[in-house]
Amino acid sequence: MVDIESLFPRLCGSLYQVTSPPSSIYNCIAWAAGDMNRWWWPDFLKQRHWPAGVPREETCAAFQEAFATLGFVVCSKEVAEPGFEKIAIFADAAGPQHASRQLQNGRWTSKLGELEDMEHELHDLEGAEYGKVSVVMRRPL
């Protein structure tokens, strides 16, 4: 059993909620992209899904390009805006590590690797495991 709060200390005392059982079928990038049927990652062996034509690189530019294939563009605000859906990419020194998707209520939803989905405040997952929010993107609903 993985202790989520020990991995993400900012969740301690925060109003987060686990919203699904664990699944190794899809990951955070897929979940942010609205795809529950595939595991997304730009691995060089091409064993995971990655949008066609987007470089298989673990860089913020490649991840932004992947979400751009779904109509997302970079924006400056992380607060909810009526008529838009937003995603956030987390990165550390090694590159992108995680992505979250904003819910209609302004909170965020994440899939934690092959663990559960959860609803949380955006910055509660920042830290040693996922790094920090590096970019927010939005698309019209």
Binding site: S24, N37, R38, Q47, E58, H98
Partner: protein, 143 residues
């Protein structure tokens, strides 16, 4: 130190040992002892491979389950140690894939040099599992 062991053999096994002993011009006792020793060594090796795999697999899963990054997940020392175990670990990878769906795809490719997953199914985990289990059966692996 030696021990005395009385063994009751089936007729088929007795005949097999007799035949091997005769063809090697050895005593039936020497042939039976060699077979017993080889079987014990083989069984012991299987158990230790299985135990080591289970320990490493559980350690790996606990460390990386919350991660999406394939490079971080697969560069973990436990994952690399499993790859280093080589072909003997393949049946255990397939068994774990079948039972738990954990992502051993890169390890299987690294060890076997094969990748039976069609490009269109990359990332579709149930189909990737099916492709590897089908590959395993075709190669004669049992799990």
């Amino acid at each position: 130190m030696s021990q005395v062991l009385t063994v009751h053999l089936s007729t088929e096994l007795y005949d097999c040992i007799m035949e091997r002993a005769a063809s090697a011009n050895r005593s039936i006792e020497a042939e039976a002892l060699d077979m017993l020793t080889a079987t014990a060594a083989s069984t012991s090796g299987k158990e230790s491979t299985q135990q080591r795999f289970r320990q490493l697999a559980n350690s790996w899963h606990k460390a990386v389950a919350h991660l999406s990054s394939s490079s971080k997940r697969e560069s973990h020392p436990a994952y690399q140690a499993i790859i280093a175990m080589g072909p003997p670990v393949v049946p255990y990878l397939l068994s774990d894939l079948n039972a738990h769906g954990r992502h051993w795809f890169t390890a299987l490719t690294a060890i076997t040099g094969d990748n039976p997953v069609p490009e269109k199914d990359a990332g579709v985990i149930p189909r990737m599992i099916d492709a590897w289990l089908h590959w395993g059966r075709a190669k004669g692996h049992q799990w």
